[in-house]
Symmetry: C2
Subunit: 332 residues, 2 copies
């Protein structure tokens, strides 16, 4: 209920998901609105149900405070369905901080995980996406958190993108092992010992060149990388649009190459990948952009279903237990 | 001598600078090569001199080691000219780490500065550039370093871009003062007390939207922001190029809108701003991209001259002394 144009894209996305993927969708929110929106579409016979929630958390509300205060918000009711086992996963395109807070406060963390991480999917020049985590759940991280992010991200990538041995890298300021901050140098040492396809340090440019599949970093860094990217794409697209409008010749050119721009925008479109999974909580939680369209919602639902069916959380707990056993560390 | 196509763009850029700006240029490097390159251009009567240096530091050499070993490298000789007062500033498009190391090891830091910072200039949607520092000189920073970066960046922006009260922000993960890492929260508290036009926390997207003039951050973060941007621009341009070649209609469209793309590329072109100043050393040092063309070199020389003439270093020392006095801190 809390996204920019809710609940229209949510309802349409739910219908698309129920039609094209083998899922049952529970729409959580204000019943009259959801019913009215559903009525605008043909959904006869589709496995879609409404679960009433009377409150909505807005985009500008303070996450933790809002989640605590609004017990009947669509976010809290949705997360509760997951906790009770009535839903296999939860999708939201609302307030990202509130969605994370609702999940972390109510679902608890997986065994072996100290900090859940938000993982974002980036398009690359190589047509295989790049998964970066954490992009904002944890501001100050310790090396052991980055180690856990590496394990969780690798399992997620493997399961969702069907890549046998995804390449895992750590975000740093140079490729040499000796380069980095105190945090990344120690995290490098920890991740190196794991049974992963670890490619070592990667740099900011590797986020988009397809040289690495999973990049781990602290949430501050990941958030900056994500927002710098969003800002740059926005600026580039508006500069180009302006520049294409100056003369008639240019306008004609832009018209003729319109499909090229559509292609291009589709390739840059984060919504193809269906949102960012919050990894490390007991349950499945996929968080989409506030401006998600129906296709993004449909893909987020598909990804949530694949994450649940793939048993990613059980695998994460197993692998972290194995890592802890091997390192002789006491499990938490 | 150490840039990708040295010394051709350097010599041509020097000629352009000597012709169009009121500067005398010393070309530092291997004399026969420089002489041959100069002979290819008309430079009669221009104030250009060659200063011989027999060694070259390559792009892939380890900065500190190379600078220590190659005493007669163009980088070290160039920096020496500045130290001796024979040159007002030094420009290099060679190995960035080595250029920084040569300057930091040989020029020493300004009074009141703990750590010199590399400042990069980014184009924005607003047509006024954004200066971000540090973009790579310091990996692990303390709050007081960010405070000094704010003072240095503000003075540089004021002098070079002629803006009376540049807006200074600190890179964080949310606009609210309560958001950030341990580092940024404390730096926020320190910078807030300075007599600057401080706009508080800014986010990654603000790098490109023109909402802020000077952004301070630690060198790890700045390096990631810079390299993510470079990688994204490269990926976007190649995706667009591919997409425009698929059909004849698109190709024709691209041809007709060619000037729009040229405009667009010019606006994204970092070389317009003439390289990144290393702020905080006793002397002027401007570091350009390894692929700098003649125009970028010319602009870097112009910026070096303006930095020297503007007396930026004296102003930095004065303002830091005033800050230290006000805070009752012992000067270092």
């Amino acid at each position: 209920m809390g996204s920019d144009r809710a609940p229209a894209p949510e309802v349409e996305g739910a219908i698309l998901a129920a039609r094209h993927h083998d899922v049952e969708v529970l729409l959580v929110g204000r019943e009259p609105q959801l019913r009215a929106e559903l009525a605008r579409h043909g959904h006869h016979g589709l496995p879609i149900r409404i679960v009433a929630a009377s409150e909505v958390i807005g985009m500008d509300e303070k996450p933790v405070e809002a989640v605590r205060a609004k017990r009947d918000s669509s976010l809290r009711v949705g997360v509760r369905l997951v906790r009770e086992g009535s839903a296999g996963g939860f999708v939201s395109a609302g307030n990202t901080g509130a969605a994370m807070a609702a999940a972390i406060l109510n679902l608890h963390t997986l065994s072996g995980v100290d900090r859940p991480a938000l993982a974002a999917v980036f398009p690359t020049a190589a047509r295989t996406p790049c998964l970066m985590l954490d992009v904002g759940a944890n501001v100050d991280c310790k090396p052991v958190h980055l180690e856990q992010f590496a394990v969780m991200g690798e399992i997620y990538y493997r399961t969702i993108f069907g890549v046998g041995r995804p390449r895992v890298g750590i975000l740093s300021v140079g490729e040499e092992e000796s380069k980095g901050s105190e945090l990344t140098l120690e995290a490098h040492r920890l991740i190196k010992r794991l049974p992963l396809n670890f490619v070592g340090n990667v740099e900011g440019r590797d986020l988009y060149n397809g040289n690495v599949d999973v990049i781990v970093c602290d949430g501050f860094m990941g958030n900056v990388a994500l927002k710098v990217s969003e800002g740059l794409v926005f600026t580039i697209v508006s500069m180009l649009r302006e520049s294409l409008k100056v003369t008639y010749t240019r306008k004609l050119g832009a018209l003729l190459s319109r499909r090229a721009f559509e292609d291009f925008k589709r390739r840059l479109d984060y919504s193809e990948y269906g949102g960012a999974p919050l990894l490390g909580v007991k349950g499945v939680c996929i968080i989409g952009h506030g401006s998600s369209n129906a296709k993004a919602i449909k893909n987020a639902i598909r990804v949530a279903a694949e994450t649940a069916r793939g048993g990613i959380n059980a695998i994460i707990e197993e692998e972290l237990a194995a890592t802890a056993a091997q390192e002789g560390r006491s499990k938490e």
